[in-house]
């Protein structure tokens, strides 16, 4: 009797693992300034749960995420925590599509009753804040926007309203990584999860941790759910005391072991700078990625491999190919004083073709944007200025303490041009109790987002698309560039004023009262001198 039940168990296990697949990959890319990009990508795919699935069985797919998505009717979810700016001039295009500093949450919640989906969004951000130890519960209606153009990816079969919330002051630290690592099937026990050493991952110039849940169709047309966890860091071997020769274990201070046993694929890929880098041992195979050679180390074939990087001494940085992305965006705050200010954004198109971009800027209600001040000018390569008309404008004005203002523009950026957008705002007054504990520091304002499709453009594929296509297969390439944050200093009240007023008034009252009381109650009489 025992024997068949074993077979049944084995069969059952086989079927279930076939339904869920897990892959883990690490990309290592030496950068021009001597720093090194490490990009971890963990992906779980499972058949999309159907409405009559009552078992809710989870094997590799994290149960937390499955339950959250079921409870709040979420088809698409995206969450990222980023610290440090991505220096595109030195590092080329970023490995992730979102590099805005702070925490960003996006979710597409199934269409339904607006009041219900509003409470689902609130429930979702609260649940995520519990899972990921972050203050995501501070996302409410005042910092949630519903952009229509920027995130309208055509390939997503999911329907529903996309909500976008941003917390520019959210930091990322070990407590966010801990629950993130626990969602991996092998956690940090084997496979690439072993390398996730917080002491090194937070000692970096750039750190971005993200997760995304998406619904799609696989090759056979069956609906699947995909959950991806990505972590990108830029490490400086120089500050760790490493010279021209170091190993991956030196860089993260952790030794690689065997591959995660349930991983269908477990690789370390080194993107070759094209010259001067010698790797030992020999990779299992080599391939190409965005025009560069890639050495692939398969952990199933080469367990416990410790890749040694040896750089030949360089003569200047001339040999490095320029990898600046086609479009770059920067945003500055203008004006001075406590009453008004403005925003100036610069979008540069380096390509030789016009590019259709969408520009999204969500500003909190206390920066009261005047849409009539919007001015778009573009400067061609020869230095001449011209006015640029947006092909479409979607402006949602703010409501005090209820919703932010959101400005969305569709623009066609001429080839080799620099386009400047300007708009002004007034600064609103906050109530005494609405100020944060460190009120005089000012408020961080989230980035503007410029997005465009890369497919129609010539030139090198951006890194995140190249990674996506190398790991998952062909897909369309949408690029989102995030601008810098800015700090808005609002007029702050004198927080000690109520105390001052109380003491001052009380003093005057006491003096006045004492005098009058004396005058009213005392009986003034002329004393006769004492007669002896």
């Amino acid at each position: 009797m025992r024997f068949p039940s074993h077979i049944a168990l084995a069969l059952c296990g086989g079927l279930l693992t076939a339904a869920e697949t897990f892959t883990e990959d690490l990309l290592v890319k030496p950068l021009q300034d001597g720093r090194v990009l490490l990009h971890f990508e963990f992906s779980v795919q499972r058949a999309a749960p159907t409405a009559n699935d009552t078992l809710h069985h989870y094997q590799l797919f994290p149960r937390q995420i499955g339950e959250i998505s079921r409870r709040y009717d979420v088809n698409e979810l995206y969450l990222s925590f980023t610290q440090g700016g991505w220096r595109e001039g030195k590092w080329g295009s970023p490995p992730v599509n979102s590099q805005g500093i702070g925490a960003e949450v996006r979710a597409r919640i199934k269409e339904g009753d607006p009041a219900k989906s509003e409470s689902q969004w609130r429930g979702l951000t609260n649940a995520l804040s519990g899972v990921f130890c972050a203050s995501l519960n501070f996302i409410d209606t005042t910092n949630t926007a519903t952009p229509r153009l920027t995130f309208a990816d055509a390939d997503s079969p999911a329907s529903g309203v996309l909500r976008h919330g941003y917390l520019p002051r959210e930091n990322v630290c070990t407590e966010n990584l801990t629950p993130w690592v626990k969602q991996l099937p092998c956690q940090s026990k084997s496979g690439l999860g072993l390398l996730l050493n917080p002491y090194r991952l937070y000692n970096t110039d750039f750190h971005s941790m993200e997760l995304s849940l998406s619904s799609m169709k696989d090759g056979k047309g069956t609906p699947v759910q995909q959950y991806k966890q990505r972590l990108s860091v830029v490490v400086d071997p120089g500050t760790l005391g490493l010279g021209d020769r170091w190993s991956l274990a030196d860089l993260v201070d952790r030794q690689l072991g065997t591959a995660c046993p349930v991983a269908a694929r477990s690789t370390v890929r080194v993107i070759q700078p094209g010259f001067g880098l010698k790797l030992t041992p020999k990779p299992s195979e080599t391939s190409k990625l965005a025009g560069r050679g890639v050495s692939v180390f398969d952990l199933h074939k080469q367990p416990s491999v410790d890749i040694v990087f040896e750089f030949a001494p360089q003569e200047g940085n001339d040999a490095w190919p320029s990898e600046r992305p086609t479009i770059s965006a920067h945003r500055y705050v203008t004006g001075h004083g406590g009453s008004s200010g403005g925003v100036e954004s610069t979008l540069t198109n380096r390509g030789d073709k016009p590019v259709n971009v969408t520009y999204l800027d969500v500003l909190p209600w206390y920066l009261r944007v005047y849409s009539h001040t919007l001015e778009i000018q573009t400067q061609a390569a020869d230095g001449s200025w011209a006015l640029l008309r947006p092909t479409s404008v979607a402006f949602t004005p703010a409501i005090d303490r209820e919703r932010p203002s959101s400005l969305e523009l569709a623009l066609v950026l001429p080839p080799s041009s620099r386009t400047t957008l300007r708009y002004s705002f007034d600064k609103g007054f906050l109530k005494y109790t609405e100020h944060p504990p460190d009120a005089n520091r000012g408020f961080n304002i989230g980035p503007a987002i410029v997005s465009y499709q890369h497919d129609a453009l010539s030139g090198e594929l951006p890194l995140h698309c190249a990674i996506e296509q190398a790991l998952a297969g062909p897909s369309e390439c949408i690029v989102r560039t995030y601008t810098e944050l800015f700090l808005a200093s609002l007029p702050t009240p004198d927080f000690s004023m109520p105390y001052n007023v109380i003491t001052f008034t009380c003093t005057i009252l006491a003096l006045f009262f004492g005098r009058i009381f004396n005058l009213l109650t005392r009986d003034f009489a002329v004393l006769k001198p004492f007669e002896a």
Partner: protein
């Protein structure tokens, strides 16, 4: 203290950690993702496996009182709730800047001793605890527990009224003092305690050395029903399951 209770087997789901500052990953911390108790940097109090439940601006007096009394918003996730009942021992450790009858939260507000006493009273009425161990490390800390009037609360403070609680170990790499004296000597004592330890609260209190702490720690036992010499530290600091042995076999299955 987070490190101590976690080391003694209490899981993160039973610990609510409130940190107003991001000390570990602050750019001014030259040892990222770590908070050490001593300039020799052997013991990382933050650890590589920490879970913080309330952080940054979430750490307010209102949230703290709501957490204790259970009056939280409906959407609040489980790790931001104190899910205790009348069988739970609750250990509360507070540290920060303070003074007579108050403790500062952030840089803008403070909790006073009446607030905490009222919250504990509500907790007792709502059967949210069996026993509370309340330890506070701040200047004039002993004034903070003077207003308690609910049963089964044992309170320890770091310094008496009119006294300062001092910090310890200036770290020249960081430019700040890394720990408070009272907290440090507590921590040092607990490093010798493990799950099987039979040390009692009386041992802990006896270990306080006034000349090292440089203030007079106070203990308030009048509300606490048990004898301190018979109260194991693991009742509050460790996840120890007590097995009760019976002399007769317990009947299972035959309920009729």
């Amino acid at each position: 203290m987070y490190r101590t209770v976690k080391r003694m087997g209490i899981p993160d789901s039973h610990i609510i950690l409130m940190l107003a500052d991001d000390m570990a990953c602050n750019p001014r911390n030259s040892f990222p993702a770590a908070v050490y108790d001593h300039p020799r940097k052997t013991l990382d109090l933050y650890g590589d496996n920490v879970e913080v439940d309330y952080r940054g601006y979430e750490v307010t007096v209102e949230n703290f009182i709501r957490l204790l009394t259970g009056r939280v918003a409906a959407d609040t996730p489980r790790n931001k709730r104190l899910l205790t009942d009348d069988k739970s021992n609750v250990f509360i450790y507070m540290t920060g800047h303070g003074g007579e009858d108050f403790l500062k939260f952030q840089d803008s507000e403070e909790i006073n001793s009446y607030d905490i006493a009222d919250a504990f009273k509500q907790m007792w009425e709502k059967q949210r605890y069996r026993e509370i161990l309340f330890i506070i490390d701040t200047c004039q800390a002993n004034t903070m527990y003077s207003k308690f009037d609910s049963p089964n609360i044992l309170s320890i403070g770091s310094s008496k009224k009119g006294q300062n609680s001092l910090s310890h170990f200036h770290d020249y790499d960081l430019g700040v003092s890394v720990i408070d004296r009272f907290t440090y000597y507590n921590l040092e004592f607990f490093e010798s305690v493990d799950l099987s330890s039979k040390q009692t609260l009386a041992d802990l209190i006896a270990a306080y050395n006034t000349s090292l702490i440089q203030s007079d720690p106070g203990v308030r036992t009048d509300l606490f029903a048990r004898d301190l010499a018979k109260t194991y530290l693991t009742d509050f600091f460790g996840a120890v399951q007590n097995v009760e042995l019976t002399t007769e076999a317990f009947p299972i299955g035959k309920s009729k």
